[in-house]
């Protein structure tokens, strides 16, 4: 992959290696009395990828595919059952709170809903200042003020002084999301995780927030992992796309290759149902029947085979790994399909 570390070291910013995370299924009283075995939701089931500095990668898939759990595991909010998460070469998987805290600074998250993620009682100034106080950034009040202003300006809230004393309810959705981004930027993170950063925003302002994120990673060495269900957004703003299905990455590669030369039948189906802006491009959507199966009972063999339009007998028993597809145009394109 393209990941290069601090000049010459060859260490990528983020390296996720065979990561798995699961949640217990709540058992009812009868199940517990009958001593039925505990069952698990295999939310993330062995995924690997790397992210370089200055790069934006999109993790796409439908609800329940494990994309949000992946982000939560990287942030240390969910303990993995196996695998490594290396940030600048240091494994941070499953670190306890005490050892995780100093690292949190370099690992920031932007949430989907800026109406929920900002404290309504905090002025913009306090929202951006609080994480700085927690991480002891900026010695004096004046120094912090300078950092707050610069973070707000970088987030596109200019002139920053016009925003400092406002409350979230006085801001539009796009401005709120920019405040959340400024609060993350104030800590100088190396990695920004953005979970559906624009899906709650109005169409007219989405592009602005996405371009902001795009600019931030391009002119710094911050990497961005964007989680989204929107393939059009991923195609436009990400360098690479990883498509997840039932806890696995089933295809990944350069964004253009994934969109124009998809190799996995699931990716092909997903792309076919994305509505196009041009009414003349009314493609026939390849609608998969049913919905994603329950990640408690993952199908044997290829986990996509029950919904796959081209599944063969061997797909029912053989679990395909990611590999270079025969008709791939890029050497870093990977798909987990026996037929690709």
């Amino acid at each position: 992959m393209t990941g290069t570390g601090p000049v010459g070291t060859g260490v990528p910013l983020l390296e996720v290696d065979d990561l798995a995370a699961r949640y217990p299924v709540r058992r009812g009283l009868t199940e517990r009395l009958a001593r039925r075995p505990r069952r698990w939701v295999h939310a993330v089931d062995g995924i690997s990828f790397t992210l370089a500095r200055g790069e934006m990668m999109a993790l796409v898939g439908e609800s329940g595919c494990g994309k949000t759990t992946t982000a939560q595991t990287i942030l240390g909010m969910v303990a993995p059952v196996r695998g490594a998460i290396r940030l600048n070469g240091t494994d941070i998987a499953g670190l306890d709170e005490r050892r995780m805290r100093p690292l949190r600074r370099s690992l920031q998250m932007i949430y989907q809903d800026p109406y929920e993620s900002l404290d309504p009682r905090f002025r913009v100034r306090e929202t951006v200042e609080e994480p700085m106080l927690i991480h002891s950034i900026g010695g004096s009040r004046a120094q912090r003020q300078e950092l707050i202003v610069s973070a707000l300006e970088r987030a596109g809230l200019s002139p920053a002084r016009a925003y400092l004393d406002r409350y979230p309810h006085e801001l539009s959705g796009g401005q709120r999301q920019r405040v959340a981004i400024a609060a993350a930027l104030a800590l100088g993170p190396a990695l920004l995780l953005a979970d559906e950063p624009v899906s709650m925003l109005d169409v007219s302002v989405r592009a602005g927030v996405l371009s902001l994120l795009d600019g931030l990673r391009r002119d710094g060495d911050m990497g961005i992992l964007m989680i989204t269900h929107d393939l059009s957004t991923a195609a436009h703003f990400a360098d690479r796309i990883a498509v997840m299905y039932l806890g696995r990455i089933v295809e990944h590669g350069p964004a253009g290759d994934i969109v124009r030369n998809p190799q996995h039948p699931y990716t092909k189906a997903l792309l076919s149902v994305v509505p196009k802006r041009d009414p003349r491009q009314r493609s026939t959507p390849q609608i998969l029947t049913g919905e994603t199966p329950d990640p408690v009972d993952v199908p044997a063999g290829c986990r996509f085979h029950p919904r796959c339009p081209v599944a063969q007998d061997r797909c029912r028993s053989q679990d395909p790994g990611l590999r270079l597809p025969a008709t791939a145009a890029s050497p870093v394109h990977r798909a987990a399909c026996l037929l690709a």
Partner: protein, 321 residues
């Protein structure tokens, strides 16, 4: 005469401080049986207000003016209350988030049969039979009538709420953001269902959404709303390829497309407040092609091409917006 004719619809909301918000300002459109029409725009532009007015479901703080004719009869003649006999029987609605508004303690089949009894369409076993048919029609097995909403997936609940809206065989279906909270694959299933129902039952479908590509794929015609007004309306193809209002053009330019190469740009600024009437074009502060007269004169909706109307002074100056 069209099946549904909305003619100069106005909606005002009283504010607690005595002011008023002019949420829909002279909205007019018409559609025939089997036609699919999109109503698009940013939040707060008046889309939902417009269709709630058609249903007679606005809150008491609202006052309404204008005509809404269903097959020639003005259903709004005596104000919002006169809509009641037409509601659900002639004109029905799938509300935003409807799939999360099913009654959790009642079986799905019962919830579909209930409005039939209430409106005197069918009762007892006839209503139960029809509920089962409706479920089949929206792609759910009839046996699911005895299940509870929590046993359904999101997509199935949305199908059930569409079945509920169709219980009394309406001719017009208003769908408010029917796929917004759904995954793309489920969204495609629901859009396919709405398209099929409109064709098979001759339903006139009004699809309200902020999502232009959804409208581009489903609707033949659409109206773009801004600040309570329709600023452009016409065939979907013309709106995309030859927009005659800058807002339409900029909305498309702000929407990423899977295969689009050009840069996606946001529209600067925010929609105006609707609690004071301002002179001039309401889009002027955000427009990229303002003329002198835009500040003083409010542009009216004018015919700019066959079947296409736009409210922009540029169209008189020659050249598209």
């Amino acid at each position: 005469m069209s099946l549904l004719e909305v003619d100069g619809l106005h909606v005002w909301f009283d504010l607690p401080d005595g002011g008023q918000v002019h949420a829909a300002a002279g909205v007019s459109f018409a559609l025939d049986a089997g036609e699919r029409f999109g109503l698009v725009g940013e939040s707060g532009c008046g889309k939902t207000t417009t269709i709630l007015a058609l249903m007679g479901l606005l809150p008491p703080s609202a006052s309404v003016a204008g005509e809404v004719r269903v097959a020639g009869r003005d259903i709004l003649a005596g104000g919002e209350d006169s809509v009641r006999p037409y509601r659900w029987k002639d004109i029905a609605m799938v509300f935003q988030g409807a799939m999360n508004a099913l009654n959790p303690v009642k079986k799905v089949g019962w919830q579909i049969a209930e409005p039939m009894a209430y409106h005197g369409v069918a009762a007892g076993s006839a209503a139960r039979r029809r509920a089962a048919e409706l479920l089949e029609m929206v792609g759910i097995s009839a046996s699911a009538a005895d299940r509870y909403p929590h046993e359904f997936s999101g997509g199935m609940r949305q199908r059930a709420s569409i079945a509920m809206a169709l219980a009394c065989q309406p001719k017009i279906l208003l769908a408010d953001e029917p796929t917004t909270a759904l995954d793309v694959m489920v969204q495609a299933q629901i859009l396919e269902l709405l398209t099929r129902l409109s064709a098979e039952l001759g339903l006139a479908l009004v699809l309200v959404t902020h999502d232009l590509p959804v409208v581009a794929q489903v609707c033949e015609r659409a109206a773009v709303m801004y600040a309570g007004e329709i600023v452009e309306t016409g065939p979907m193809d013309a709106l995309y390829h030859l927009p005659r209002h800058p807002y339409t053009r900029l909305l498309f330019a702000a929407t990423p497309d899977l295969y689009g190469e050009e840069e996606v740009v946001s529209i600067p600024g925010v929609p105006p407040r609707l609690d004071e009437e301002e002179a001039g074009c309401p889009f002027r502060p955000r427009c990229d092609v303002v003329l002198d007269r835009c500040a003083a004169e409010r542009p009216a909706l004018r015919l700019v091409a066959p079947g296409q109307q736009a409210a922009c002074h540029r169209n008189e100056a020659a050249g598209a917006a």
